[in-house]
Amino acid sequence: MAAPHASLPNVGPNGSSNGGLQISYSGIEKRYGMRMALRGVSLEIEAGECVALVGHNGSGKTTLLKITALLARPSGGQISFSSGTSPLSTGDVKHRIGMVAHHTLVYDELTAEENLVFFAKLFDLPDPVARARQSLAPVGLARRADDLVRTFSRGMRQRLAIARALLASPQLLLFDEPAAGLDPEGQQWLGATLANLHAGGCTIVMSTHGRNETQGSVTRAIRLEGGEVTHDSGPKGDPYGVLAMAAVRETAEGDAR
């Protein structure tokens, strides 16, 4: 299947131009039994930033994303969100977060449209069917709307996952290794989509490995090692130094193995 046109309008039906969320992490710790996944992570992420979390497997990237998505509770420390100057409650935040995870988070036994209608209903969006159809077109799945997801390729599933994450026009988008499993064409499409969302003002936090097309919009890079922040380019710094260093280390570790 041909990739949808790269110069997309905002992928969400209403775009993501409501401004991004600010996130404040204060001494976040996460323990899984005896293992410490995060050790006192403190960060301030400003609205509209596109942050890349880098680090090798087990460094705590996914755990930090899960805590940000409110899927996991920190064992210690606090996370808070605000939009503009207003702090947000957990209930408010859930309406404003979209997530693309390792897995696709969609049902194989439902069609692409049924999946999006189901999630649109859970988000209490008006006219879920129209919203689902609007969301499928920009990700190039309009013609496969009535096909079961289990018949989709990896790239198509990833596009549907992105459409699901964008359904409610989130102000914060979390991506856990979004380029994993995508071919170069799919990565290029994803890179264009991220650029588009970032231009719309959405805050983006993604974990990423190596160098790939999705890093074009990154404005800040944070390296995690053993659950601690070891490098942070900061909101105004050059993220590519941290990304390049992470890529070099990953290559060296790969060669050593």
Binding site: L105, L110, L122
Partner: protein, 224 residues
């Protein structure tokens, strides 16, 4: 979004996926049919023998059906980590459990209603004159089975050896429901027939207590 609305949305999704594949219903009906037939070979199916053993064997069959049918309830959500997608939605976490409980209740009740005539024939038992009372007891017992089964399916889905864990957790907890349902069914099939207020009240109390407890701790049950 209201609890009722999100529960209904999740219930509709569960029904749609199951009736599309019919994997669980088909397998469970065949399995319980075999169990009922095999049990019928173990004793002389005269009316008096059937009244003695029939209700216990019937509910044991339904318990087997439950442990088979309830296992995939949350395991299915692990395929693409769709449970995370449900938890990301701005809904009451209890509605995820409630939607699945309602779906499991309907699936189990459907299996039971299909197998009831087979039971009546194989065990030489007249069920038509007492059908309303029997359906009431079936419904109450099945609510208990579906509620506890769904909760333990959620708990065991995240554990190692999950396939073994569900029956191990479920059977001891369901013992009171099994006893009450069997006694209530036996009283209905007895001559003269009687709807045992004691056992029916016990079943109602079990269902209310377990549902309330699930509502109170539902959020924690779904966490990693």
């Amino acid at each position: 979004m209201s609890l009722a609305h999100s529960t209904a949305t999740i219930l509709a999704k569960e029904l749609r996926t199951e009736f599309r594949s019919r994997e669980l219903l088909g397998t469970t009906i065949v399995f319980v049919l075999i169990v009922i037939v095999l049990f019928s070979f173990t004793f002389d199916p005269t009316s008096s023998e059937s009244r003695r053993f029939g209700p216990g064997l019937l509910w044991l069959s339904f318990l087997f059906a439950g442990s088979l049918m309830l296992q995939p309830s949350f395991l299915r959500e692990q395929t693409n980590d769709t449970l995370a997608a449900l938890r990301l939605a701005p809904i009451d976490p209890f509605s995820i459990l409630a939607g699945k409980m309602a779906a499991n209740f309907l699936f189990l009740l459907l299996v039971e209603l299909i197998l009831l005539p087979v039971f009546a024939v194989m065990y030489n038992t007249a069920i038509l004159p007492v059908l309303p009372e029997l359906v009431l007891v079936l419904a109450l017992g099945t609510i208990g089975l579906a509620t506890t089964g769904t909760v333990f399916s959620a708990v065991s889905a995240q554990a190692r050896l999950r396939e073994l864990l569900l029956p191990l957790l479920l059977l001891p907890v369901l013992a009171p429901v099994l006893i009450a349902s069997t006694e209530a069914t036996a009283a209905i099939l007895r001559d003269p027939s009687e709807l045992s207020r004691v056992w029916v009240t016990f079943l109602v109390a079990f269902d209310v207590i377990f549902l309330t407890a699930t509502w109170l701790v539902g959020e924690y049950l779904l966490e990693e």
